[in-house]
């Protein structure tokens, strides 16, 4: 039903200049934004690199690489869209939305993060060739035993000037492999070796970011109060406002069941979708659409109009528009 036409007899017209209102609004915003940018600056924290981790946290680097090598890292066991794992598979009852699109971005961490970079480094360090051969010719059980022994010895490692000396253990070629990988990382060549899904333009940085995620990145995030329990993405960035408009979304993560369920992400996403649908349907939902009428806050906006209608005096003036431009004609 078309009922939007307003009756000029009931609602007298007043002069109005839309172009002027638009220009004033644009200039007001531009002035505010330029002053804010000049005086306050904007948030920026240098990105974390694999090179930094390899140099400043070499044991953590080696631990991460060891877990990638024997496919016990979080990403190796993640699930779709990266692999067949179930470690991060979220389910709402029998519903697994994560599996719908399948494995669209396959990642094999042991190959991508360790074996391929080392194979690429072989021309620079020929001693790696027999080491990699020893690894590839061993059984899976043998490989797992080597990595397990290495990870057990790693906490007792001695670190001198960035060089890590791991106590002797039945860990086969693993120390030589991961030491070479750390050298690659320390020299700044690691991310280039990892991000090769599109070998020229390197748009997809999934491998290097997935290598960095976990303890290395969380340590930095904690420094800036960015962890999930601290309202995550919408938290202030340094002393600047973050995306505060995500407050309702971030708030869900602070309360059960979102904060406790392993499917918290999926539940939060679908809750926000439901809220969006309700917001879209406000004009159709009895009760909800009547709230403004019952609260009567609109009488503040149209106070001049109601004064005129209810008391008969002309308090409207002769110029419609926002207060910003009402004194000019």
């Amino acid at each position: 039903m078309r009922r939007y036409a307003t009756d000029p007899a009931k609602y007298p017209q007043a002069r109005f200049d839309l172009v002027k209102e638009a220009v004033i609004s644009g200039v007001v915003v531009l002035v505010i934004v330029v002053i804010a940018s000049l005086t306050l600056g904007e948030p920026y924290v240098k990105p974390l690199t694999i090179q930094q981790v390899a140099n400043s946290e070499p044991v953590l680097f080696l631990q991460t690489a060891a877990h990638e090598l024997d496919d016990t890292s979080a990403i190796a066991q993640y699930g779709p869209p990266y692999n067949n794992g179930t470690g991060s598979l979220q389910a709402i009852g029998p519903f697994h939305p994560q599996t719908i699109l399948g494995i669209t971005f396959p990642i094999n961490p042991s190959e991508v993060d360790v074996l391929q970079p080392l194979a690429m480094a072989t021309p620079l360090d020929p001693a790696l060739k027999p080491v990699l051969s020893q690894w590839s010719h061993a059984s899976r059980q043998r490989q797992d035993a080597w990595v397990k022994a290495y990870l057990a010895a790693l906490p007792k490692a001695a670190v001198h000037g960035g060089a890590v000396t791991v106590p002797a253990a039945a860990d086969g070629p693993v120390p030589a492999m991961l030491s070479a990988l750390q050298a690659l990382g320390s020299g700044g060549l690691m991310s280039g070796a990892l991000d090769r899904l599109d070998p020229v333009y390197r748009y997809d940085v999934a491998p290097s970011l997935l290598f960095l995620q976990g303890t290395a990145m969380e340590q930095v995030a904690q420094k800036y109060d960015l962890l999930g329990g601290e309202w995550g993405i919408m938290h202030d960035e340094l002393s600047y406002p973050g995306p505060w408009w995500l407050t309702p979304y971030s708030a869900l993560y602070q309360i059960p069941p979102y904060s406790t369920s392993s499917a918290g992400d999926a539940m939060a996403a679908y809750t926000m979708l439901a809220i969006l649908l309700v917001l879209l349907a406000v004009p159709l939902i009895p009760g909800l659409r009547d709230i403004p009428h019952k609260l009567r806050l609109y009488r503040l906006v149209w106070r001049d109009w109601y004064h005129t209608v209810e008391h008969g005096s002309d308090a409207t003036g002769s110029h419609a528009g926002m207060d910003l431009g009402k004194h000019t004609s």
């Binding site: 039903m1 000049l38 306050l40 924290v45 779709p80 979220q90 940085v205 995306p243 679908y270 009428h293």
Partner: protein, 213 residues
């Protein structure tokens, strides 16, 4: 003469008829009802002003590239304009949305305007999010690895790959703004076409059927 030959019901004719309804006086009116007189009416215009600033600064940033906006000097200043423009955009948009809710602005056949406004808000959230991922600093990295779980868990991570800077940047500077600008344009056209929603009936007025819906 067939119905098709007469043009009645022809969708191209319908588009022309609808377009003809927008005269210059509809688009840029010289008069408005007297009740259009409050600072509240500035929120929508200020939101639009902020969007213009965001798009203009975004075009300059895109023209110069990621290295430029991470290098101290003009690039960082322009990134600041873009950042504060987005803050202003959401500030005024949420004021606008809240005010329109309490004014019941979907009444009298204006439901489509409300829906387009809410869709514009939702799309703005996604567009701004892709911007946060495109800045190229630690916040971007952190939000990328955190957000992947959210998008994967929701079932769209298999397409919306937040770890692919090419896809996210393309969405941020082209696809999402194009859709957003289309939504906002339609929203504005509907506002102009239908006029500003009248006030709820006064206490001493007889309530017309449906006037509060």
């Amino acid at each position: 003469m067939s119905r098709h030959e007469a043009g009645a019901g022809n969708w191209t004719e319908a588009i022309r008829r609808r377009a003809e309804a927008f005269t210059w006086d509809t688009l840029l009116p010289t008069e408005q009802p007297v009740y259009v007189r409050s600072v509240v009416y500035s929120f929508g215009a200020l939101t639009l002003g902020a969007l213009v600033v965001v798009v203009a600064s975004g075009i300059i940033l895109a023209a110069n590239g990621p290295f430029w906006w991470q290098t101290p000097g003009a690039g960082v200043f322009m990134r600041g304009i873009h950042y504060w423009g987005v803050q202003a955009f959401f500030f005024f948009m949420i004021l606008h949305l809240t005010a329109q809710f309490f004014m019941g602005s979907w009444r009298l056949g204006r439901g489509g305007t409300w829906v387009l406004g809410v869709l514009s808000f939702a799309l703005s959230v996604v567009t701004a999010f892709t911007g946060y991922l495109s800045r190229g600093d630690f916040f971007s990295e952190w939000n990328q690895v955190q957000a992947k779980d959210a998008f994967n868990g929701a079932g769209i991570g298999g397409w919306f790959n937040v770890l692919n800077n090419g896809q996210i940047y393309g969405l941020h500077i082209a696809v999402l703004p194009a859709i957003l600008i289309a939504f906002v344009s339609l929203h504005l056209l509907l506002v102009r076409r239908h006029g500003v929603v009248p006030p709820y009936p006064a206490d001493n007025e007889q309530v017309e059927r449906g006037s509060s819906r």
